[in-house]
Structure formats: structure tokens, C-alpha cells
């Protein structure tokens, strides 16, 4: 089935020149699966239910259905949550269990907009780490130490996701209930041959200057498509948004390849 697709001449050529990223975090979509294997690591997580893991399904169900029935209370001192997100109780400073209905944007107090991420994200991320990091709660109860580990891991994920344009695009689209459909790309032969050419140029680049040149080109393309994504998403044209994600994915993969060679 899907394996057959792999053997179309063009894609098999691409497969040969693999050398590509083996960074599995935000894996590059691959031709293999027509199956339901999303390239997105988060979707795989329910398979491996570890502390700190997200079940994105949950998060958009609750965001679609609006408010939670009860506003949360601190598990330790029962004070009612006065803030969203409620990661830390302001009255007893206890770390709260992970609430998956709070999305990554809410963690950082951001509007759910593609370009709402500003430069202070890093500061906000570090702010949370100073409150939630497991190193700071060695003397607390086992329960709270576990919450700290989970919250801290989730804040890292949130930061990593939102700070990268491509990851952020995939994530925000998923919050809208749109998952990336890999078959889409197979039709875009123009993009594929373009990428193949670029990749050849990367492989044959005589020096780091040439590499830097290709890289700045890729970054330009990424920026363009990131803008197109923002526009498409804003006008809720999800089909265009998905297309932009594919473009970004490929340019990003070339970019990573260059970084590896530099």
C-alpha cells in the first residue's frame, strides 16, 4: 500500500539522498505513511504515557467546548485559582498538577495567534522555570516533586514549540483541529524537484561561504512562507495554511542539513 508510493522514481531518489535530519523532535514528514502516523511527535505520545506527556486531543476538545465546569482549586490549600494558567498556587506556592486543557499559548499568557509570540517569550519561559523547576522542590512532598517534573517538562515543550515558526504553525493548526495530511505533498512535484536541487547544491557546496548563501536563501523562503501561513491562518484558510507548512517543512529540512555541515 503506502510502500508502493515510496517506489515512485522521484521519491526513491529522495530516499537515497537521505542524510537528512535524524532529529526526531518535529520530525520531517516522510513518504512512508499514508497510515495515520503523523510526523508530529505529540500525536504519538498517547502510546507512551509518561509523566509530562501531552494528549493534544484533550486540549482541543476542552478548548472547543469552552469553559471548564469548575474553576480549579489548589490541591494543597484549596484556595481557588485566581489566574489562568493555574500552574502554581499564589497563596501557598504549591505546584499544581498539569492541566491539559491549558494550551501552550495560555501558559505564556499569549493570545492564540500565530504572530502573537514576541521576544519576551524566553523571559516568560525562564520565569516559569524559576517557579516550577524540579531542582527547587527536592524538599517538598513526592507528589509535588512529580508535579514539578511534569509542569517543567511541559513548559519546555511549550517554549520549544512556540519559539520555532514551523513548530508553532503546526501546533496552532492542531489546536484548530487540523492535522497535517502527508499525501498533500506527493502532488507538489515542483517543490520536490526544487528541494532536490537545493540539496544537491548543499552537498556540492565548495565552502562555507556558499553554504551561508544557500542558508540565507532558505531563511528568506522560510520567512516568506511563515508570513503566508500567518495570513492564511488569520483568514481561516486552512488549506493554504497547510500548504505553507509543507513549504516551511522542506526549507527547514534543508536548513538543518546546512547547520549540520557548517
Amino acid at each position: 500500500m503506502s510502500k508502493k508510493k515510496l517506489l515512485t522514481p522521484l521519491s526513491s531518489l529522495l530516499l537515497l539522498r537521505r542524510t537528512l535530519t535524524s532529529t526526531p523532535h518535529f520530525s520531517i514528514p516522510h513518504f512512508q505513511s499514508r497510515t495515520n502516523f503523523s510526523p508530529n511527535i505529540e500525536k504519538l505520545r498517547p502510546l507512551f504515557p509518561l509523566p509530562g506527556f501531552d494528549f493534544p486531543g484533550k486540549s482541543f476538545i476542552s478548548s472547543q467546548f469552552g469553559n471548564k465546569p469548575n474553576s480549579p482549586h489548589c490541591w494543597n490549600c484549596s484556595a481557588a485559582a485566581q489566574t489562568t494558567p493555574f500552574l502554581l498556587c499564589p497563596s501557598c506556592r504549591c505546584i499544581q498538577p498539569v492541566d491539559h486543557s491549558v494550551d501552550y499559548f495560555q501558559i505564556f499568557g499569549l493570545e492564540r495567534k500565530y504572530d502573537s509570540v514576541e521576544e519576551h517569550l524566553e523571559g516568560k519561559y525562564k520565569d516559569w522555570q524559576k517557579k516550577l523547576h524540579p531542582d527547587l522542590v527536592h524538599s517538598k512532598s513526592e507528589k509535588e516533586r512529580e508535579y514539578a517534573a511534569e509542569q517543567s517538562a511541559r513548559v519546555i515543550d511549550a517554549y520549544r514549540t512556540l519559539s520555532k515558526p514551523l513548530a508553532r504553525a503546526i501546533y496552532i493548526l492542531k489546536l484548530e483541529g487540523v492535522d497535517i495530511d502527508e499525501e498533500e505533498t506527493l502532488s507538489d512535484l515542483d517543490l520536490l524537484s526544487e528541494i532536490m536541487e537545493v540539496r544537491e547544491a548543499v552537498e556540492e557546496a565548495p565552502n562555507s561561504q556558499a553554504l551561508n548563501l544557500i542558508q540565507s536563501l532558505m531563511q528568506e523562503k522560510l520567512k516568506q512562507w511563515s508570513n503566508s501561513f500567518a495570513e492564511a491562518f488569520e483568514s481561516r484558510n486552512f488549506e493554504e495554511a497547510v500548504k505553507a507548512i509543507w513549504q516551511m517543512t522542506y526549507y527547514e529540512s534543508v536548513n538543518e542539513e546546512i547547520v549540520k555541515r557548517q
Partner: protein, 571 residues
Amino acid sequence: MAEAAYTVASDSETSREEKSSCTFPETTIGIDIGTSQCRVAIWNGSQVEILKNSRNQKMMSSYVTFKDGTPSGELSNQLSADHDMLSGAAIFNMKRLIGRVDTDPVVHSSKSLPFLVQTLDIGVRPFIAALVGNFWRSTTPEEVLAIFLVELREMAEIQLKRPIKNVVLTLPVSFSRFQLTRIERACAMAGLHILKLMPEPTAVALLYTLYAKQSGFQSTDRNVLIFNMGAGYCDVAVSVTAEEAPRGISEIIALTGSAIGGEDLLQNMMRHLLPNAENLLTSHGVDEIKSKGLLRVATQNAIHSLSSQNSVQIDVDLGNGMKICKVVDREEFEEVNRAVFDECASLIIQCLHDAKVKPEDLNDVVLVGGCSYIPKIKNLVMNVCKKEELYEGMNPLEAAVSGAALQGYVASGVHDPFESVDVLSIQVTPLSVGIRADGNNFVPIIPRNTTIPAQREMLFTTSHDNQAEALVIVYEGDGEKLEENHLLGYFKIEGLPPAPKGVPQVRVMMDIDASNVLRVLAAVLMPGSHVPINPVLDVRMPTVDDGHGWCAEALHRAYGATQDLVSVKRI
């Protein structure tokens, strides 16, 4: 025979569950066990206090001497330490030997030490023994470290007048997870509870962050490179300290390290001073041990002198008609050790590259460790980092232990109303972890310098038609060749359904939690299904114990490539 000073703990006692049993604030000490010297410190709320031994020394040699069957740490018999070394009764340099197998080059170079280090070169632990009277008394690096840790603990307890259980320990960046378990074992034997194991330069980075916070720089972010070289290891870290709120966070960006250090400088120099020394250095007769000891002491003193003067006169009678009478100058010393210095420089270049930081973007360069007094080291660090001067605010010998003490203070949850030591270290994985796949290759799943905690996943598939089983062999390291990395363990996935090669999907997920515990999970799915066909395998690593060197080869002999995995190619 007197009772051993340490408690023999069962292996399970080194496990994390056991460790997390303490739930109230207790005093936590920081320990820097160096290859040749070690220190203990405590943070008293406003500053670090380096603990002293009964002879009022802050720095203690990492020796254990064996006498009449009663091993004891050096703390109580410094005066006889040199004598013990000449007689073969003193065991030291254990940090270079712990958790290594007898095929390791570092173990081989340790054969020149003045006690017994024997190898069979088959990938088992080396045989180590001290000469006591007419007996070779066998020991292990774990035992030696435990004896030593007991002495350090007792010393701290006497000085602080309270029982001590919790420690933060600093360790080399290049230590594998297997080596960490050996350290955990030694601590458990010594009745110590590890709150955190910190790579040495990250402890220094934390201290730097506190100083930066206290002095209140006005710039935005401060990039700092830390170069730490002691007797056994050389480590480099790049850390970013944010000056905008929130302050006091040391975010490690990149770590790199190698088992090179003052010991290598010493050995190269010994071989230089005594050409044809190979026979002497590898033999273990009573006379040879004495000669080796004398050569060692003389060479060490000469190297120390060369840090402050341009040339030194060496005059030593090694016995058996061997005499060294020679003037050595600094240039000669630098030439003899050129390879070591080159490797130091390449570690810095590597670390800057990984951190994506240019030398011009470094705000400070911190040089610490015993080797930081060597002029050539200073020069090469300044050259590579393009700096005219180095950061001056720390004692190079006390920086790591001070950082460990600070981390211990923060971790023990002591109430800190003025937030005076409100600091946090965000750590990364020092080494990549991955599995064997695509033939005899290492495929990293969590790359090095990934922020902890981390989870990453990769997709693999079978390499043969109707392959019913697949071996997951877990390695750690950054060597290009598989064998250059540390084997952490292995397990077999059974019951793959008959299918052409490339069809079954083997998903391997790696998880490193906040306490740095590594778990490897593996699940098999068939295309079109969301449900694993068998229960998911969940394995805590490392699983290897002694003799792990030959395990990989044994697996290869038994299975060849029949149970191989290949990574799924992606565009």
C-alpha cells in the same frame, strides 16, 4: 581484621526511589572528587565555606592506602602518603578508572601507576590491587571511592556537628551513564544520598550566575565559556546568564568533554624524561613500583615549577642505576604535550560550534581546575576565545565545589526570604543517546545538548522479510563509529508479525526525566493501526553491569544481522 568503614549496600539501594525518601530540609554538602584532589563545601546562606580536614587543609589528595588489610583514606595520613605511593600501598586516580573496561585506552595508560592495574583486553573490568607487605590486595574503584567518601563525610560531620547524608557531586562531562551508576554505587556504599550529579563546568556556571546577579551587570544576556581541566578530565561548557528578569538562571547551551588532563601531561613528561621507560612503567615488581613512584613525584614537581618559571632542574635517583639529571624548559614541556593542548583547543572550538556562539560574543571566559595554572593552557584558552583576559572572580580550585554547595543549598529547599541565592541551572544532556541501526551504525535519538527533561522518538523498521524479532541496542556517546560509544544495554522485541521488510513500524522513544533517569520504550505497530501489537517495552537504562565491553560482540556473534533495525528514511 578491622571492620570495613563503609556499608555494603545492595544494588537496589542506588536506585532513585530509595533516594527520594527524604522530604525535609537537611544540610547538603557539595563534593568535588577530583582525580588527584578533592574538596568539600557547604553554602552557609550567604557564601561558600570550604571544609577543612583535621590538618587544616582545604584540599585533600584522593588517595586510599591499604595497610594490614585496613584501607583508609588519605585524610588521616598525609605524612605517609608519598611513602605509601612508593611502596605500592596507595591507590589513586580512581576517577579515571571507575566504570571503564580493560579495553579502554584510559585504563591502559593507567598501567603506569605505581600499583597494580592488570588488563586481559577482553572488555571486563581491570584488576586493581595495592601492595601490602608481600600481598597484592585487590580492590575496585567503587570501593576506593566509597572509603574516601566515608572519610569526607566524617570530616564534614565533625566540622558541622550534625549528621550529613545529602550531597551534590560534580563529575566530568564525558562520564557515561554507566559510570554514573558506579558513582551512585560508591555513594550508596558510603551512606550518602545524591541530590544531584552535576557536570563540573555547569556547577561553575551556576556560581558565575550568582556572582553576575549580585554584581548586577547592565548588559542583556551574558554568554560565558567555562573551561575546566583537572588531573583526569577536561570539560568545556557554554552557558547563558540572562540579565533581564528573571535573573539568576544559568542556561547551559552546550557541553563537551574528554578524558584528558594533567595525568596525560605527567605521563608524556615521564616518558620524555626517561626514554625506554616503557618496561619500567608497565612492570609491577617491588623495585619498579618504587622507581615509578620516584619518577612520578619528580616529574610532577617539575611540571608545577614550570608554571611559574621557565626552566627546572630535575635530579632524581630512581634506583637500579637509573638516574635523571636534566634541565627541562617550558618550551620542551609544551612540545612534548602538543597533542594534549591541541585537543583542549578543539574541545573549545567544538563547544562554541555546538552552542552557535562566536568567540566575539563571549562576555566572559572562566578558566578553572588544577591545570589552569599552566601558562600554555591559559594562552590557548585566551587565543581560541579571542580574549585579552580571563574572568578573575573565582578561585580556580574551589569553583566547582562551590557551585555544587550552592546547588545543594538551593535544592534542599532552605527558606531564602531575601532571595539572595535565588539561582537555577537549566541542564542539557552531555552525550547523545541512541540505538544501533542501519547496519553497524549509531543512530542518535536524543542528541547531545538537549534540555533536560527530554523525550524524543524515532521510527524504525525491520531489515529482513518476515523478521520475527528485533534487537534494540542502546548506546551513549558522540563517536562516529558505534564502538566508540558506551553500550548502555539491550533488549529484544519479540513477536513481530510476518511481513516484508520495511513494513512493521518499530517506534523507539527515549525519555530522560528531571532526575536524569533514562528510559527506552519500544512499540511495534503495523501500518494502518494505532494500537501496538504487543505490550510496549519500557526499559530503564543502563542495564549492563560488569563486563559490558564484550556484550556487544557476544550479541553480534549470536545474532549477526538477523535482528537488525533500520531507520525509516525520510526526505
